[in-house]
């Protein structure tokens, strides 16, 4: 009965305690020769803003899927609020944990508002329609994402950046305790990249929203995350503050790139200046 809570598991998680935790995860995609994870552990504390970085194919998205409970590990377990993530009913899990996917193709001509209101689904009864409370939450999320005037626009008419912001708005409308983002800012221009970073940072500070964000943009990750985890071939090779993780040696070892690391005097965050691929 590994799905039973062993240490309380009453849902309340003290700040700093692990709210989402991967314990000794093993995972291999069906038919794949090499396992992606061979005993990976990672604890995300309540109120953390964790940046998950690593090169292509290092297992970032798979880890996110395992953490969100949409993939099952072959061994080991993921614990959410002290209980196995699979012991939650799917709706209960979705009330606590939201995911912003890399990109998602939506069928049919749903409007922006209709799509953002889907984030309310875990909070509604079986046949319930969204009420004024749900609408207010969705509208607020849209305004935060600078899409307040696009409520009735069909999703297909949005630019890729706007669509990405609408996906973030849907996750915010879900009112989760934990938000997992899979390169959510990859398609965004500079302004909206910073805007989403600032909003997430504020929700993290003011409302204690726990965040894990996958990013290829090391500088964005360093600027907004309080902690970085560096993944290489399914193993976490560095885990700590941005300054501890983003050292020239570690970046070279993982990304096979020579870099210079400086400190941004205004934010105190390190920033990485790429120089050349290793061996070039």
């Amino acid at each position: 009965m590994t799905d039973q809570p062993t240490d309380g598991g009453d849902g309340g998680t003290a700040p700093g305690a692990a709210i989402l935790e991967a314990r000794n995860l093993h995972f291999r995609y069906p038919g794949a020769g090499v396992p992606i994870f061979d005993g990976l552990s990672l604890a995300i504390g309540a109120g953390d803003f964790l940046g998950l970085i690593g090169p292509n194919g290092s297992g970032k998205t798979s880890l996110l899927r395992l953490l969100s409970g949409t993939l099952r590990p072959s061994a080991g377990e993921v614990r959410l609020e002290g209980r196995s993530v699979h012991s939650f009913r799917p709706r209960e899990r979705a009330q606590r944990l939201a995911v912003v996917p890399q990109e998602s193709r939506i069928l049919f001509n749903f409007s922006v508002m209709e799509m953002v209101l889907m984030g309310r689904a875990p909070h509604l009864g079986l046949l319930g329609l969204e009420g004024s409370h749900d609408r207010a939450i969705a509208r607020h999320a849209l305004e935060e994402m600078d899409l307040g005037d696009r409520e009735e626009t069909p999703l297909r008419e949005l630019s890729s950046g706007e669509r990405q912001r609408a996906l973030v708005a849907r996750a915010l409308a879900q009112e989760p305790a934990i938000l997992l983002l899979d390169e959510a800012t990859a398609f965004l221009d500079l302004k909206h990249r910073l805007q989403i970073g600032e909003i997430l940072s504020r929700l993290n500070r003011e409302q204690g929203l726990t965040i894990m964000a996958i990013s290829h943009d090391l500088n964005m990750a360093a600027r907004y995350s309080s902690r970085l985890a560096l993944l290489k071939q399914g193993r976490i090779v560095a885990d700590g503050t941005p300054a501890e993780v983003l050292t020239p040696d570690q970046v070279r070892a993982v990304y096979e790139t020579e870099v210079r690391v400086e400190i941004d005097p205004s934010s105190g965050a390190p920033y990485v200046i790429p120089r050349s691929p290793v061996g070039a």
Binding site: P30, P90, S104, L107, E114, A121
Partner: protein, 343 residues
Amino acid sequence: MPALNPRRLLLSLTLLAVAVLIVMAICSSIGSSGYTLLDLFGPIDAGDGRGREIAASTIFRVRLPRVLLAAIAGAALGAAGTAFQAVLRNPLADPYILGISGGAALGAIAVTAAGLTATLPILPVRTVAAFAGAVATVAIIMLLSSVRGRIASYPMLLIGVVMNAIYLGLILFIETAIDFIRLQGVILWMVGHVPTEGYHLILLLAVILAVGVLALTALARDLNLISAGEEVARTLGVTVERVRILAILIASLVTASVVSVTGLIGFVGLIVPHAARLLFGPDHRLLVPASALTGAIFLMVADTAARVIIAPTELPVGVLTVLTGGPLFLWLYRRNRGETYFD
């Protein structure tokens, strides 16, 4: 279109229900004998052999059962088409194109040919066999079109075409082997037509339809989330596999129940959901019941047109639905190519 609220939901469905009744009355008033519903309130005997009784007998024994059956068949195919499009994540899915109706037809013909409907006349054997044929077809389609655990939309359509050809061959084989004179009846069935049936059968079909549409409507919010992406639906708390299997079973059942009576009326499950989506938006909580009601109206009108368009000869209604739905399919396919269907 603003997001769905209780007022829009109720208003749309009430308007549609009223429209269904009006169309039903009009279609029951059209026919070669010239009687209309108004004659039911006229003189008992008009003196020229016409009168209330003959009008009543014409309308209630000949026209109304056929209009009702058309309404039920249209509603079933419309609602099933909407459900298939959502769970298979393919806007071109339709029980006819995918071969699901063909599988149902084969099941129904096989038990009829085997004489089971004669030996077990009380049980709806044909409906059960049609249901088995429909579900088996969906299973084959999903098995063959899944690539690395995901269902690919484009191969699904090709598989449907081939399944249809195989079913046609099997049906013709069975019929020819048994009694080749009955082939003409089979052709009528392969094209799809609305026969005049007794009220007890109509009632049975209506009950299956009502239960099916209610059950699909109960899954409607999950159908919305699956439309937004399987992975997304999972993170929003939907057990995708369970919803998919339930929706497929229910949609197959309502499809099979009408196909076992009307034969293969093509493309209704494609035309109706697209029309309903244009009128009422993509939210399945409204779209599923609205597709049923829109389908009822569509097939009542189409079947009445088929009765009168080259009167006194009657066209099978399937001729009209295929001639409207076929070009619509080609247009939709062309318009959306490369966007959604090649994932």
